[in-house]
Symmetry: C3
Subunit: 461 residues, 3 copies
């Protein structure tokens, strides 16, 4: 039968030439899955358990012994037991002396305990060498052999040799070890699998807030206002017209917010005359989530493109165009082609298309596998030069779309300007400040500061 | 001159500080390419050949000796010879004693021989340590240095040390070794380069079948029926209208089929009360190709989007809109705006846009480089939560599109319902069952079963 | 607080179980950043400097000594000094005897010096083992811990052991070493970070040239001609109509140019009867940038799609459609549906959609992370079979779009044919030659030549 390549891993090895023996404490779900995988990869596996009777669930090539007996058979002991039960190890301290204990545990909450499970284990059995590993892998992934999510296994520990031994096992199981340093890193490693897109939290909360604000803003201007003054029911604008007003505003504003921290950082560096003092905390955090901000902006831009392209299929738009044509016929007047309008309409569409195109390019280069294949000069060229070009094109797109409506009083309803005018604030600030920073009298000292060569003398101690 | 970075590898090393000597049996295309690459990477290479005269094609830094002489010079011998000629090695058994023989051969058909070439080699020369490697790399890729396709080299073998030596060579050549276990895996490794998207076979065959069925279904309803009853020639519907009917149906059905096996597995687990019994074979296979099913569904969804967006450019649609306007004028009746229609049209478009947007997001997260950068919790959040949201949005899109046509008898031609109604069957089943499974009385035991902690006692032996 | 996973690396290790001591000559920006990162990863770091007073900028766990003292403390010395100052090392030759010197320098221009900095260093201190490494990493990336661009560190050197030691450090810092061979590769490695998309230069210059040509060509035909003869101002065509004429032409021409070199290579191989003679240099270069040519073609195709989809929103198009309807009404003639036109319009749209869809598929499979997950047979199936299908579909799309306009004299203005006709030249040549090459009388010898088994006897020496 035509087997799948992932099945390659599912073969039992020849009995000769085994790798070393590994002991696993605990016969729970994850312990068994790990044992199974290790046997497949050529290791001998001994389970240490309270009840030494073999269950049908335990891999049949594995021995099940008491904790003491099992521990004596191997140099590496994997602790597949929950943190609450770690204290049963204290009486075994003598047997565990000098052994490598691999802590694979996870918690239910981020920072659940004051110290990480691995550090707690190291305190309980100070004579053993504790290594944290495998906690980011799921039992299901080990069993099924399909590692769709990450193959990375974070490893940390204070003993270099012990860490090396564990990393060799990780590699033998077909996974990729990533050395994270000393056992102090265990807390972070234990928190990692509990995270749910931590870097995306700020961009998503920010855009939810902005979406809510602009939704009600547009609702008032575009639905409630005409209902109050003209008794027209435009409630169906909620489905497409209002989203298509919110999306471009958010795309442009968030894109500007990607470049704003860089501009602020430049001003701070120029003012301080050094790059060696830390930025304020909020600026640091902001700079770290620029990529996520940009991708959320791209998502809104893509939605804007889709919402715009369906315009001619909308039943309302078809009705409006048809009724305009009919009224022209009935009034027996044929409008000539308005070249200015044709220019305006075509330019803002063209600017939007080019801006969106560059935006998608930026998005593609931020894919890990693509950014891994460019050097720093290329990466910065794309993210900085192309990024600013995108911002300029998108701002121009919005400006030309506005056309001469900025000054027309009819575009102010209840003194509220058209929503897109608000979206121009952030990008215009960024572009103006960036334009000022390009002048040689500012650009030259800034470049020197960033190369670390020049700074005001008071900061070099 | 400005050379390309891939040329970096093309430099001959200094003669001092060579790595060990490697012997290659056979001076064919692949043997030479491999030898060339090894010399570049600092190895001394000796070719073993029947005729010991150096050809211009053999890398000039390599020696060519008789098989016996060559074999004595190295601990590792790469067998770059076709399987049919392996038996010439039997007389050399004594010289090959304890040597590492690297089998790099491939076959012309999947499972061509009862045992793999590497196992056959191990039988012929039982005193040598046989390692399977390099068969997934192409001679052209080695020569040109551009490794556009995979850099992965699957390695397997019964002797750990021998395998390690070969994996070191693989790494030195700039490739990535992947340990696949014992020599039993050789059959799979030999089949690998002959595979042509094995995981895609079922999704593609299934969708071809469904496409054919719905093509004729739509042909009958939309082209033959009006031709028979109204003598209208709508044959040009074959180009866009019918594909744009088939694509959304397939996208929705296949997306539902991605989530159906998960729902079935849950029912089976609940019924059995354990997760430790294997699923039926068909369910296992179905679950393994869910990603491919989803991507094929996404392809159909993308085509549906493109086919829909070109609607207003179609000459037929322009004619229809224009003739409707003209008939309104001629009858001197101007239709008022139908707000219900505007709502329906805008809602189904908006639901479709949001559904497609989430669908594309799902597709992006299934890119290997993206899924490698998320943890399990994030991966499951995206694939499960966002996946179901996509399914709900796309189903709602189809339901709203249908509007009140479900009950209208005019939408049944020759008793055939509109094709999109058929596409609702699978997603509705999935959503209803999933909705039932969310209830705590079912969700709680299911979660416990999946954690491996609880099961009906009769299954624990 | 909820820390980011990249912070995991930012933890100071336990003082026990340090890795070996590494010496860094030079306390500049990059030297300090590297030292900081090494201390984090468990190394002891000694700085060698002219002034031994510790600055606040130097990592506080590092010692600062004189060059001589520092060098004596470590087996590995990282030279974080600019090439101009390398000669200060000559007096230290005795102390540096047998040490591993890591050259991390970069130049300001490609091929700035006749020999690479690393080779220059090896000449100055011949008794040391020089290894080139780390020059592709930026100080900023080391400091911030966010390695958005490449994690790859190219390493080269003549001494295998020294290289291995440096590669171990690279791995310990969480980076990926890539062995590039002997010190001769240093020049290329030093040029690498100065490159700005070298493989993209030719495709981009070529398309800029073609864009300029076709812009003026279309300007003359579509704007100047009607202005001269009909006094109509179509200058706004510059915004959308002309770009939407240029983009498909470039997409199709560049796509054909992706497959042209393969066809030329086949002709040359058939003519020569061997695959072992090098192709002319221009053909080699052309073949190496096929992927980039294809991606630029895809970019133009995407722009073409966007420009086409906005057609119905353009104010000019709305005016034209509406005025046609009005003129029909006023002349009291209602056009019947022209089925031929409907067929032509729907077919060329459908062919374009399918062609673009396959084109995007090709683009996705060229993403590094995707192409890494397919075997050679699959990669070639996609890039060759699907590629030709794309070319055929796109050529057919253009042919059907032209319809019967090819023969109409009105489509020639000032004897200039419609621009899209010019775009058909390259793809038609490729498809005709490829069609000829498929015939068994040519295909069979070609396959044999490519397998390296058969060639005309005069070339085998």
């Amino acid at each position: 039968m035509n087997k799948n390549s992932s099945d390659i891993m599912a073969l039992a090895p020849n009995n000769s030439n085994k790798r070393e023996t590994v002991c696993i404490f605990g016969t729970g779900d994850f312990g068994r899955a790990l044992g199974h995988k290790m046997i497949q990869s050529g290791y001998s596996v001994v389970f240490g358990s309270r009840s030494t009777q073999t269950s049908s669930l335990i891999p049949k090539d594995a021995e099940v012994l008491s904790h003491t007996e099992a521990a004596q058979k191997a140099a590496i002991i994997i602790i597949a037991i929950q943190r609450q039960h770690y204290n049963f190890l204290t009486p075994l301290a003598e047997i565990l002396h000098g052994k490598v204990l691999v802590d694979i545990s996870n918690n239910l909450k981020i920072n659940q305990y004051p110290e990480s499970n691995a550090e707690y284990l190291a305190q309980l059995v100070p004579s053993a060498k504790v290594v944290k590993a495998f906690n980011t892998v799921s039992a299901w992934a080990l069993q099924s052999g399909t590692l769709d999510a990450s193959r990375q296994v974070f490893v940390c520990g204070d003993d270099m040799e012990a860490k090396q031994m564990v990393m060799d096992i990780v590699r033998a199981l077909g996974l990729t070890p990533l050395d994270k340093g000393s056992l102090l890193a265990a807390q972070e490693i234990e928190n990692y699998p509990l995270q749910l897109f931590p870097m995306w939290k700020f961009p998503i909360l920010l855009s939810l807030g902005l979406v809510t604000f602009f939704f009600f803003y547009s609702l008032i201007r575009d639905v409630i206002y005409p209902y109050v003054y003209e008794k027209k029911d435009f409630s169906f604008f909620i489905a497409i017209s209002i989203p298509n007003r919110i999306c471009p505003i958010l795309a442009l504003t968030l894109l500007a917010l990607v470049y704003l921290p860089g501009v602020l950082a430049a001003i701070i560096q120029l003012y301080r005359g050094t790059k060696y003092r830390r930025f304020p905390d909020w600026l640091d955090k902001w700079m770290l989530c620029r990529k996520q901000l940009g991708l959320v902006a791209l998502a809104f831009a893509s939605l804007h493109v889709l919402y715009t392209l369906v315009i001619p299929i909308r039943s309302f738009v078809r009705w409006r165009i048809s009724s305009r044509t009919i009224s022209q016929v009935l009034n027996n007047q044929t409008e000539p082609l308005n070249t200015t309008n044709a220019w305006l309409s075509d330019s803002y569409l063209s600017l939007g298309i080019l801006g969106f195109f560059l935006f998608v390019l930026l998005g593609i280069t931020s894919l890990p596998s693509v950014s891994n294949n460019v050097n720093w000069r290329e990466f910065r060229f794309v993210q900085s030069k192309l990024g600013y070009l995108t911002l300029i094109l998108c701002t121009a797109h919005t400006l030309v779309y506005g056309g001469n409506r900025f000054l027309s009083p009819s575009s102010y309803r209840w003194y509220l300007p058209n929503a897109y005018m608000l979206s121009l604030i952030a990008p215009c600030i960024v572009l103006v400040v960036k334009f000022v920073l390009i002048f040689p009298c500012l650009d030259k000292p800034l470049t020197q500061i960033r190369q670390g060569w020049e700074r005001k003398p008071q900061y070099s101690e």
